[in-house]
Amino acid sequence: MLSTLQPPRSLSHFRTKPLLLRRHTSLKPLSSLSSQPVTHSTLTDQSQSQILSTRDSLLSRQITAAELAESFLARLRRTEPHLRSFLHVSDAVLTQARDLDDKLRRNEEVGPLAGVLVAVKDNICTAEMPSTAGSRVLEGYTPPYDATAVRKIKELGGIVVGKTNLDEFGMGSTTEGSAFQVTANPWDTTRVPGGSSGGSAAAVSARQSMVSLGSDTGGSVRQPASFCGVVGLKPTYGRVSRFGLMAYASSLDVIGCFGTSVADAGILLHAISGHDRLDATSSKREVPDLASQFVSISLLQSKPLKGLKIGLIRETLDDGVDIGVTSAIRTAALHLEELGCSVTEVSLPSFSLGLPAYYVIASSESSSNLSRYDGLRYGNQVAADELNSQYMDSRAKGFGSEVKRRILTGTYALSAGYYDAYYKRAQQVRTIIRKSFKAALDEHDILISPAAPSAAYKIGEKKNDPLAMYAGDIMTVNVNLAGLPALVLPCGYAEGGSAGLPVGLQMIGAAFDEEKLLGVGHIFEQTLQNCRFVPPLIADEDKPC
């Protein structure tokens, strides 16, 4: 059935050389994802679930958790000098892996994430590791508690590898906004990994960890997923508890997942989802069993997505979007049609309103959320003679320029006399956007668009042009304003670097319908030909089976 799929035509103009490198050598039907080939490779393909194969390998004693952890740590040590994706690497990984091995030896039951190596964005609290949100103001701060998402991962047997770099408090799209270091893109180390969850995306892309947690306020999971060629999942607002996520914009923030396959992102989401009494905005809805749909392609019919209605958002392919991106997205649309979907263009006239509304709302909320960083109870304190100068000095030295810019913007927007013109207006726009997405999703099962207007750009390119950087968020901010789930998965390449640069396809679903996104994403990914999203930095390390 797969032979009916034509090679993506629009890629033909630059695919001659690089594509040879990426040829997928194991497109033969797999019996089932949950019973992977016995030869375990720690460097798995995009289409394989690292989480499921880890479980199989551990349970069938083909590898020990310690061996597995050691292989990831070795790769981390080798690649980290080039990438700088971690702010802190745990020194307990091997101990925890050995504890797990002991349990396995005693035939004790282990959790579904046993031995899974998870990297965690540094704005998510971890009790045993520093959590700085990439800010000087929290340099050296270790929280007294684990974020709910981290606690759940640990309870299910996952091992936290370390804390990943980010734009300070999640404010930025390049990870250059970190107070501590700049992270590089594993596909081309002269380029940014995207942001703000750049460290988490780069870590998964370079297989420094199997999966990772990020946070997405305006695209901070999806855009770096696109830039780094990994799967990024932004859940519905309220699906995952925000408790322990250092707030940037509370009404937009969600914790999201990175993986090298849709299945991994889905399994990780399932692990961290659900109501949490510590987050009043977390939903009480039942979490469906997301993992059951990650079936082998051999079980798929010839048109597995027959009848599915896909809307391609017209406004996302307008001028200002790189040609490499539009052609990859159009090819992906063709691929979906091949799978049986009907793809039509849909117009969201309010789409362009999202960006200004987002920056007003996010800045307003951040100006309030960041008030607590006053140096009095935790974090960096600057000694001063009296209270006001203590506040001013601590905050002046603690925050970077982008954070200050957003605090000032937000303070202004919430000020008496300006509130109606900015904050209130932005909330009205938000309502319009929510309604227009609702209408479009009543007509379509899924909406698709690029995840970013371009592939990864050069480090420093937009650093001094905040407006250009903000404009890059156009594809993603609307989804946060509407609170919807979205999945980004690599679908093709744009020109750049030594091996091309990955381009991500964004699939937007109805609220709390992550299940559909993951199902469609999984089929898309399993049937995508000639693409193997392993970055050149590690591509020659381990020949896939």
């Binding site: 998510i124 609290c125 959590s131 949100a133 929290l138 701060y141 929280p143 007294p144 508690y145 974020a147 925000r242 408790f243 322990g244 996520l245 250092m246 707030a247 914009a249 509370s250 009404s251 009494r277 510590l278 987050d279 009043a280 905005t281 307003s364 909320e365 100006s367 309030s368 960041l370 008030s371 607590r372 960083y373 006053d374 009095l376 109870r377 935790y378 209270l387 006001n388 506040y391 303070t411 919430l414 000020s415 008496a416 509130y419 904050y423």
Partner: protein, 554 residues
């Protein structure tokens, strides 16, 4: 205090050097406080003289005051006595060691989120209903933003444009000694918010290790408050104090707060302005803080009214500025705390971490039906029983006294008699022993018995009083005590006659004197007979028989 000062002098003997004094802030502070105290004491001593010299201006002020009207509004903060704080599960106990009841949420740690304690909503709805307010079925929380060291998050979770209750009123009766009369004052709004922590300055004594430090105690941070804002309906200090006292009664009756002003569970900020009678627009309002007792509310307002009236009448009304003044209890006057420089901008916006507050009619009805009888209803009921306003206020002011009274009359006691008993020796006993009515051993049931036994003549009123004290201190039953001590009144004339004869025969000298015209001695005989009867003889019968005997033989 004094010993602390002394200690700091001992540990730092060099502070006597003037330059060191300047550097060491806290020691300087102690000295200032001390000298203030001395000053106050001196002032009090010379007061009579000052009074004499001030007599004329005071009289003048009284005359001028007649031309002015004061306008007073009150903001009351009521600390709710929920088991846990408003947005986390920390308990709050007044007076516990600093920072022993805190968690990541009330400390405002990164990543922590508030979770609403639904008891806060319940309390707010109760108070809203008790104050005859209209409830907002859909309300929300907002953030009020400002920086201060006692505010961990840099914002206070409060309610801004949609408070949970609005547009109510409160009824009260002014005590007779202050002129009496019924009043109805408007309630503008009631809203929910969280308390801030407490700054502890180094002059606190126990935290004075180093002068340059100030301490923050976050135990109180996040404790739920209701802010109750009145209409500017009050006209003098007494009305304002009575308003505050009625709020206290209401929250105590509802059981939502202990309403204790000394502990800060009930805090009043008052706004005072004056205007010439007949003028429609309000004068410039001045806010007064630091009012720790109802008497302070009353006196501070009356002082402030006089101050403003004096300034206005002297053409210095420009000197009445919008400001916050502190009530200085020692000096009995208000002093400037801070002048307002324009409006402060709190940049309110809806709290995104908390969903909206949605009430259902069923929920509200359920609370409405469970409300206890409130002070105003009690007073009106007592009024119908024919009690005097003095009695009514005494009984209704304290929920426990009212309950005791209600139970007593439910057990059959006459309302007026019960009120008399509770208000006289009973009240005096509680006051002397510093006990609340719940702590005395006497039960309403026994008080009703006692009253019944006196009424039917089983015991005399005098014996009744004796028994009362015994019952208050030790408990037991009236019946038991009467039997145990054989206190039943002697009403048999024959028995009394015997006792009369016995006493007369034992005192022949006095009898002769009596019969010689010293009729005052009747009292002596009566006393002797009563003593013989161990106080049990019916006084009426005793006197009747005694007189007959005394006069018969003459």
């Amino acid at each position: 205090m004094a010993s602390t000062v002394f200690r700091s002098f001992q540990t730092h003997p060099f502070v006597f050097h003037p330059t060191t004094l300047l550097r060491r802030k806290n020691v300087l502070l102690y000295c200032t406080m001390r000298s203030q105290q001395t000053q106050t004491a001196t002032q009090e001593k010379v007061k009579p003289q000052v009074k004499v010299s001030n007599l004329n201006p005071n009289k003048k002020l009284e005359n001028i005051s007649k031309d002015y009207e004061a306008v007073i509004g009150i903001e009351t903060h009521v600390q709710l006595s929920t088991q846990t704080k408003a947005f986390c599960s920390c308990p709050y106990n007044y007076g516990s060691q600093p920072n022993t009841s805190i968690c990541p949420i009330c400390m405002g740690l990164p990543g922590a989120l508030p979770i609403l304690n639904f008891k806060v909503i319940e309390s707010a709805v109760k108070v809203g209903l008790a104050l005859n307010c209209k409830l907002a079925m859909n309300s929300k929380f907002d953030r009020k933003q400002y920086f201060y060291a006692d505010l961990p998050k840099g914002y206070q979770i409060s309610q801004f444009d949609v408070p949970i209750a609005t547009g109510g009123y409160i009824d009260l009766d002014i005590p007779v000694e202050f002129g009496g009369g019924h009043r109805k004052f408007g309630i503008t709004r009631v809203h929910m918010e969280e308390d801030a922590g407490k700054l502890m300055h180094s002059d606190d004594g126990s935290y004075s290790q180093e002068s340059t430090f100030r301490f923050v105690d976050l135990n109180r941070a996040g404790v739920p408050l209701l802010e109750i804002v009145s209409e500017p309906d009050m006209r003098n200090g007494i009305e304002a104090a009575e308003y505050a006292a009625e709020i206290q009664r209401v929250v105590r009756y509802l059981g939502v707060s202990n309403g204790n002003m000394q502990e800060g569970s009930l805090r009043c900020d008052v706004n005072v302005s004056i205007r010439p009678i007949g003028q429609l627009q309000f004068g410039t309002k001045v806010e007064i803080k630091n009012l720790n007792a109802f008497s302070a509310v009353s006196r501070a307002i009356d002082y402030e009214i006089s101050r403003q009236v004096l300034l206005h009448s002297q053409g210095q009304d420009k000197e009445i500025v919008q400001e916050t003044r502190l009530w200085d209890e020692g000096a009995q006057k208000t002093v400037t705390m801070r002048k307002k420089e324009g409006l402060s901008d709190y940049r309110y916006f809806p709290e995104p971490d908390l969903p909206g507050v949605f009430l259902t009619q069923d929920y509200v009805d359920g609370i409405h039906n469970s409300l206890p009888e409130l002070p105003e209803m009690k007073r009106r009921r007592y009024e119908k029983m024919g009690l005097s306003m003095q009695d009514i206020l005494f009984l209704a002011n304290d929920m426990n006294v009212a309950e005791f009274f209600d139970t007593t009359i439910k057990k059959g006691a006459d309302a007026k008699l019960a009120a008399n008993w509770i208000m006289s020796d009973f009240a005096a006993y509680m006051k002397n022993e510093e006990l609340s009515i719940n702590e005395v051993k006497l039960s309403p049931q026994e008080l009703a018995e006692l009253i019944a036994f006196i009424k039917d003549g089983t015991i005399s009123g005098k014996i009744g009083k004796q028994i009362l004290f015994e019952l208050l201190a030790k408990g037991g039953t009236v019946k038991g005590l009467i039997e145990e001590k054989d206190l039943v009144q002697i009403v048999d004339p024959a028995e009394i006659e015997k006792m009369v004869e016995k006493v007369l025969s034992e005192n022949p000298k006095q009898l002769d004197q009596y019969r010689g015209g010293k009729t005052k001695l009747q009292g002596y005989f009566a006393g002797q007979i009563m003593k013989l009867s161990k106080g049990k003889a019916n006084p009426g019968l005793l006197n009747k028989i005694l007189l007959e005997k005394l006069n018969a033989k003459s």
